[in-house]
Symmetry: C2
Subunit: 899 residues, 2 copies
Amino acid sequence: MTKWVYNFGGEKTEGRADMRYLLGGKGANLAEMSSLGLPVPSGFTITTEVCTHYYQNEKNYPAALKDQVTQALALLEADMGMNFGDPLNPLLISVRSGARVSMPGMMDTVLNLGLNDETVEGLAKKSGDERFAWDSYRRFIQMYGDVVLGVPHHDFEDILERHKTDENLKQDTDITPEGWKSIVADYKTLVKNELNKPFPMDPQEQLWGAIGAVFSSWMVPRAVAYRHIHDISADWGTAVNVQSMVFGNMGENCATGVAFTRDPATGENYFYGEYLINAQGEDVVAGIRTPQSLTTKGKEKEGSTLPAMEEIMPAVFKQLDEIRHKLEGHYSDMQDIEFTVQQGKLYMLQTRTGKRTTAAALKIAVDMVAENVISQEEALCRVEPQSLDQLLHPTLDPMAHKTVLTKGLPASPGAACGVIVFSADEAEKQGNQGIKVILCRRETSPEDIHGMHAAVGILTTRGGMTSHAAVVARGMGRACVAGAGSIQMDYDHQLLRIGDTTVKAGELLTIDGSTGEVMLGEVPTVQPQLSENFSTIMGWADAHRRMVVRANAETQKDAETACRFGAEGIGLCRTEHMFFDPDRIQNVREMIIASSAPYRRDVLEKLLPAQRGDFIQLFEIMKGLPVTIRLLDPPLHEFLPHTDEDIQQFAKAAGIDEAQIRLRLSALHESNPMLGHRGCRLGITFPEIYEMQVQAILEAALKVGGVTPEIMIPLIATKAEFDIMKKLVDDKAAEVFEDKGEKVDYLVGTMIELPRAALTANQIAEQAEFFSFGTNDLTQTTLGLSRDDSANFMPDYLYHGVFEKDPFATLDIEGVGQLVEIAAEKGRKTRPDIKLGICGEHGGDPASITFCEQVGLDYVSCSPYRVPIARLAAAQACIRKNARGRLGKSKENKEKKAA
Amino acid sequence: MTKWVYNFGGEKTEGRADMRYLLGGKGANLAEMSSLGLPVPSGFTITTEVCTHYYQNEKNYPAALKDQVTQALALLEADMGMNFGDPLNPLLISVRSGARVSMPGMMDTVLNLGLNDETVEGLAKKSGDERFAWDSYRRFIQMYGDVVLGVPHHDFEDILERHKTDENLKQDTDITPEGWKSIVADYKTLVKNELNKPFPMDPQEQLWGAIGAVFSSWMVPRAVAYRHIHDISADWGTAVNVQSMVFGNMGENCATGVAFTRDPATGENYFYGEYLINAQGEDVVAGIRTPQSLTTKGKEKEGSTLPAMEEIMPAVFKQLDEIRHKLEGHYSDMQDIEFTVQQGKLYMLQTRTGKRTTAAALKIAVDMVAENVISQEEALCRVEPQSLDQLLHPTLDPMAHKTVLTKGLPASPGAACGVIVFSADEAEKQGNQGIKVILCRRETSPEDIHGMHAAVGILTTRGGMTSHAAVVARGMGRACVAGAGSIQMDYDHQLLRIGDTTVKAGELLTIDGSTGEVMLGEVPTVQPQLSENFSTIMGWADAHRRMVVRANAETQKDAETACRFGAEGIGLCRTEHMFFDPDRIQNVREMIIASSAPYRRDVLEKLLPAQRGDFIQLFEIMKGLPVTIRLLDPPLHEFLPHTDEDIQQFAKAAGIDEAQIRLRLSALHESNPMLGHRGCRLGITFPEIYEMQVQAILEAALKVGGVTPEIMIPLIATKAEFDIMKKLVDDKAAEVFEDKGEKVDYLVGTMIELPRAALTANQIAEQAEFFSFGTNDLTQTTLGLSRDDSANFMPDYLYHGVFEKDPFATLDIEGVGQLVEIAAEKGRKTRPDIKLGICGEHGGDPASITFCEQVGLDYVSCSPYRVPIARLAAAQACIRKNARGRLGKSKENKEKKAA
């Protein structure tokens, strides 16, 4: 028969910390603390499986549950020497939710359960404190009435307030026992009037009511929303913890408090926490009185005059401090604990791993290794890679006041404040004058690059996490909020509207690219400092990872940033970005307008020295590290002038008839440029462009020396395309080597960014020496989802759970990942030593990096500012994979022995 | 040792008809005829493998070839009782190419080889005809000089013409033996002057020169181009046939001719052919004299007065007629034969399966079954499915003169002539007045449907075989030439330009959608007539196919056409097409502009009766046959007004501010609409639209009765999307059934048109009851190829052989097909009885249908005019699969017995 109920407390404890999925975090840790011999009030946990059963069976409990609860309750009574509902010696209990992971404040709790008109008298007698007993009773009615019976909380508060007003009392503590009795009577009347039946006096009815309320609270909208935000599955369910009550509010020798075993803000190793004398846990949270520091050190740090627990309850404090060490030692991690002192006796009510800032996480991890508490591997797994972003970019001053106007997508981390401009040219102009500007656009295009570079932040109203604005901003390390759809950009009147608010060009705006918030005026920001702990962790990460981490970079600045952050090469140099330089765009445009190959060749001749110079610079910065260069990829019309003014200007400079240019523009227009004439399709129709690029790359490599360029062909769908392009590269290389009288090694490989390429990777690998998974485009094609257009419905998709995460931010492993696996397997079958990497935006996403390690890619490549994240994530993925490998092996060995 | 040379003629014949791959078609059939005991001049065939070897080894022959040729030549000399190069008794030979399939006129031939200054005298003596000998010699020098030595053909012709002028002669036959001798001398001088060396006198040198010329001709541009057009692989290579010469020009008892065993134009079973007395084969082809009919029947039919062979060479004719029956009986198919009569003796020089018109193909197939020559299965495989198109659409009168201006893509078959209009509205206006119009647009959009309907033909300058224009035109049975890129449409001046030619609105234009030709003025067309043979073949096809054939149709006319052509249901009813009706578009637009769901519901209420009416009509026409209805698929902005005028008009009618509409238009604009907010994404964000459609479908089904609608959800990428949509359909269905008090069965399934859906088909099939492969979009996404934009580079791609065929016309089996297979397999694993079909354009393409049969799909669905093609192709695929199955089984049995 299924065991639905697990006891805890003393020797009858049945659970363990590692049974979190079954018992919830709270229940599992209560059991664990009991087993450790810590003073935990006894109780029992109804498992999460009951919750699952409840929702799968039209809110009915498993048949055996009733009996199992009855037995557990009997055991609890025996253990406590009290009886549930006994008028003379009543056992009081708390009923609390407890999911696999903490969902603070999301679900319901009922305290003091078991009180009724009879047992309240027993409690009064037994405690010798009538006021305490009736206060507890009214707290119970209020909590139960609200949580279980659905009587509005404020109706109870109204009664309490009215009583205080009538009696002219200021604080709850001023209310007399008789006062509480009268309030209880009013509470009961309220409930009866609201529900047309009296408040339940039967403790069993109370118990099952509370259990039902906890399970029901799993599906209330705020819990659903919370789960959605925090990636918690509804299937997990919650457990219910039924525990004997202890009271921190039975007098001056009572207390209640919460603590962290180390400082969660800095990571400093001292006992950090607060407590209240003569109070129940909820009072600490409610902030009715100012909590006091546990330690004298804390008291000093906060400049408080209230006495520390260390001072006024030294014995209990000593016991608590010992437990602090014991728990941290046992869990090998910083703990967040709750305790109550009842008449001088300490009780532990909760322990869990404590949340901490990134800085604290790094310090705690490094310290704990030094203290021999954890290994380097464990330390590495303690730091959330994504959280490193906090350390690399300016952040909003957490103390500052802010007026949030709206929220867009957190497209590129960091906070930035500047004056609003509405065009790239204006951004550049003001930027050159040293003015900090926020470039505000509906969307950005490659023509805006100079303005993005000159801006401190970018705000767009369209496009998603991998829109042009987002990708470029991340690459440059600029803060960016993208797809803020509630903003209307009015270029004509040089202003933007958010609801009723209008903000004009020149006014100050602050954006937080880590949260997506857009704020009016200036919110001060704090510059990042890379700590020694950061370097230590990064060093360990490098020692523990298998995958190489490269950066996506093409400019001098990007490449230098990448090197500073520890990139071990360039995984994606997008040559088209080199074409937007104001000095070159005219030539590029003339080349595109050129209708014949010979004329195109003439113009390309002019571009060659500049392009060669780009590569020389890049190779010099990268000092022999591998550099993968992608030949021209985007549709040609991206380079062309689009506004009337631009067209006229270009026509004049080029000496070409304006009408002819417009004709060419219209011929180049595409319905779906993403699926259009781009990538290797350009290489096949205009081979002279790729030839020029290959020449520039190889001549640069010859000049700098010590570099093996990796030439990458984009948008390959078929082996035939790749073979044609490979031949083009090899022929041009032979020509360059002949001409220069010397050679360099080079590789020719391809992006795998179309489903067909993945499916036929075995064929393509016959000639291709490396694959780089272009998972941005592979996501677009596999899902049939334009990254530029998905913002319109992505919120609905995330809300409905169609995607757990935006597939442009975290790799869709079931779909896109399946193709990556297929391609890796097929590619290796043909060419066992083929070099495999990823250069889409996913290369900087920890979950995606874990997948890359599982598939066994050789490297990941990401934007420069994500390099540290990728280094850590790659190390974690490797450590976890090895751990699983070891587990698997030991399991295997066991099975072998058994056989 | 590899056998490179195969003898034929009499008893030493080594080849067979089924060795076509090795010996080429001509060589294999010469061997076969020899074995049948027919009079074939002896010779030998150098295999196609020599050709392959030649090109794989830098144009060197296999080492053993020389000896094998020498041996074969010796055998030939012995057989003929003549010696190669013998001045007294010279053996003369022909050297001819012969590939696996016939490539008429593409490669080179040399006749009369072995002649030189000495052997010509021997020939003169032996034949007793000096004029014949020297004429043969000059023919040889001219042919060899041109083909092998590269001396321009016209230089020889010039000498001949000069001689005739000098001598004042009119015809070649007037030239005396001395005249020919003098011409031979001039020819030799010409060669010597051109090449700086004399014409080769050594017969061995002549022989190897000719062999080399034949192999070289395999790679000349015209042969490469021909192969490209006819899907012939360069790897196949050509064979070389060396055969002893026979002469049809040795006197009045000599003749030469070509014949078909049945009439290739009509299929009528009579001996059809022509011959010339005292002539060589090339004279028939060159048309120097009017050829005469073989039979008196032929003579009568052609109204000729020249005597039939039947009349003047009755004995030889009788022998030939016997051979005709023997060959047709042996090959079980109509044959195309060549023969020569040398001094009263008949020689067979060639037999091959004869080309025929579609009408003839049908008649011959049906007749041969009646004659018990072939089975129904064989008859079905004799007709090229695609060729049925000729019978279904008007065709150009083959006798008419035509001025071809340019060529576009043959996007929808049939020929059409009409006056040029440049807008859909104008097309409709003139069409309503009974004027035949050709709608000329850069591209078409759903807004042009009414104009396309009103036009007899559609011409576009952009877009490919599956562009909007092409797809809609095929569906309507309108002729369409798409992507004619050399045409410039000038809407402003209401004219189009092709090179220097300008054609104005109102002028006549003819287009041929079967060839892509665009012609000036009116070219008369011929209306199709469906013959009894057509019905017979279709009936057999239906009996022999496994797959069901449905049609893609949504209008009354389409559905009726589909039924007339034998469709067994509708595989794709595109509901959006129903929204473009002028009566409805205003409501549709208001619905889209509506910013709130309640308002949208109000407008949808107005659309409901119309949509329900559509389905009632469709269900009634289809009389209980299955109908698959796809819910709204395209991006909403496709429905919106785009021109200023339209926008103003709409705003006025709707009573909405014009600025607001423009704002909404700009919000709905997408960078890549193909990958944008469409398909089920609309269903998820605007569920009320799909709810209205489901209600309309089910209410219509209830009203008509006896129909099981198949509701199809478009653009599914994930199981979650499908589950949400399935629930929407089921919930709405429950509501409708509750409301109406009755129920109908219905199915809910999905398009598989995204790679991710194919890859996760096992998950989707948990809820989906059928899959329809939308291979148009699946091709776009798998290959990352926009069908609307691919015209820019597709010609280059086909030229470079990246694609063998346009992947939008014929399924890319390696890539897209792989996904179809994966999805079929995964879908069936979850749901063994899942219904699988295809509804992309490939559903009407024979090669793709063969693939569908192999994968085991349940049905194909195509545009109404392609239904007969699909029925036949499905039957062929089934017959061939079964044949392979039987072969496989018999092979298996053999192996079993052997074991």
